[in-house]
């Protein structure tokens, strides 16, 4: 048994446990960049930290986004909409 850690307690020998929570989504959040003011509020409240900042712009990533709709609800500019996921 080999553990990766400089501490006496282990970090998983076989790496990080993760699941494809992106597959849970029945609706996906889509950002309208014409309305977005890049305030970052959606990113601050996303429980999954699925909204990232790249080149000073916020973008939604979908690998782990669970489709909770918090970003839609909290956006002060109504710049995000939920649209149905295909086949769901």
């Amino acid at each position: 048994m080999k553990f990766k850690s400089k501490y006496i307690v282990p970090v998983g020998a076989d790496g990080i446990y993760e699941i494809d929570t992106g597959k849970w989504r029945t609706e996906r959040p889509v950002m309208d960049k014409d309305k977005c003011i890049e305030c970052g509020i959606c990113a601050m409240y996303c429980p999954v930290f699925s909204i990232i900042k790249e080149d000073e712009k916020y973008i939604i990533t979908y690998d782990y986004c669970k489709g909770c709709g918090i970003c839609v609800h909290e956006c002060p500019k109504d710049a995000i909409d939920m649209i149905p996921e295909e086949g769901k």
Binding site: M1, S5, Y7, I8, V9, P10, V11, G12, A13, D14, G15, I16, Y17, E18, I19, D20, T21, G22, W24, C39, G40, I41, A43, M44, Y45, C46, P47, V48, F49, I51, I52, K53, D63, Y64, K66, G67, C68, G69, I70, V72, H73, E74
Partner: protein
């Protein structure tokens, strides 16, 4: 650290895909806590939602990128106290942190937390209060609000039932241990939460305790998109005030000029849907009483 910069300037230390419910604000709180604490941290997550959703991992895989323990429901604080002593002896400065539910904190693990607080063990203990034993099926805890439906305080067809006892005022109980730092926090107020975690990290003369108020989507019957709004209403109505106690001095972090009626908060939550106007008035009176007590303590 600015809350808005968390996403671009800090490292994610929790597995990106954990099976917390859609919209769970405990997941948000844990990610924020770990992003502020940073990689020089040893974490303990006892049985409960966050343990169950994979933060401690399964088999030989870990759910966090820092060392993470799975202590018992009844002993997170004493386990961490020992770990902290070990690193103190080695001369290594590391954040030793519990992220534990209300069941593990206000009920099952209380005696060991109280002991660690009294001894002055240098650990950071964070309780996420979702008002019940959620991971095992939404049973009542000492932290459940009076009147609330839970699976062990059922409500009949006539709307009779719900918890009969008051919610334990646990942040106050911890404050009265005279620990160097005690604070309440809320996922709707991320900047306030960040500030408090930073302060807790600086404490080097005893235990730092943070109590996060986390409305539970699935166990309370809250719409996932309203996860943050409901948490915010609890502060805006003075139901779950934001305050901190540094070396015995109380300070209000939020003092709503025109507090919203508690009813506005309660109405958003299914576990309170059976409450009568009288029940709501009683909760309002209790909220007012506790708030006034807090204001008095803060004016000392």
């Amino acid at each position: 650290m600015k809350a808005i910069d968390l996403v671009s300037k800090t490292e994610e230390l929790i597995s990106p895909g954990i099976s917390a419910c859609v919209g769970c604000n405990v997941e948000l709180s844990l990610r924020v806590v770990m992003r502020v604490l940073g990689p020089n941290t040893i974490l303990a997550v006892p049985p409960g939602c966050m343990g169950g959703v994979g933060v401690v991992g399964w088999d030989m895989k870990s759910g966090a990128k820092v060392p993470v323990f799975f202590p018992l429901l009844d002993n997170p604080a004493s386990m961490l106290a020992g770990i902290k002593l070990h690193y103190d002896r080695l001369g290594e400065d590391v954040n030793v942190v519990a992220f534990a539910g209300d069941g593990a904190t206000v009920d099952a693990g209380f005696q060991c937390l109280s002991g660690a607080a009294e001894r002055g063990d240098k650990i950071i203990y964070i309780c996420y209060d979702n008002e019940g034993y959620m991971n095992t099926g939404y049973q009542r805890s000492g932290s459940t609000t009076k009147g609330a439906w839970t699976s062990t305080t059922p409500v009949n067809k006539e709307g009779i039932g719900g918890k009969m006892q008051n919610k334990k005022d646990f942040p106050m109980i911890m404050a009265m241990h005279d620990i160097p730092y005690m604070a309440t926090a809320n996922p709707a107020y991320v900047q306030d939460m960040v500030n408090k975690i930073e302060k807790a990290k600086q404490v080097d003369n005893g235990l730092a305790y943070i109590h996060i108020f986390n409305p539970c989507i699935t166990g309370w019957g809250v719409k996932s998109e309203e996860s943050i709004e409901v948490a915010r209403l609890a502060v805006q109505s003075n139901f779950a005030p934001l305050y901190e106690v540094e070396n015995g001095n109380f300070k209000l972090n939020m003092n709503p000029r025109n507090p919203k009626p508690v009813k506005e908060y309660l109405q958003k939550i299914k576990k309170f849907s059976h409450l009568t106007d009288e029940d709501i008035e009683e909760l309002q009176a209790d909220t007012d009483k506790k708030w006034n007590r807090l204001v008095n303590l803060a004016s000392l």
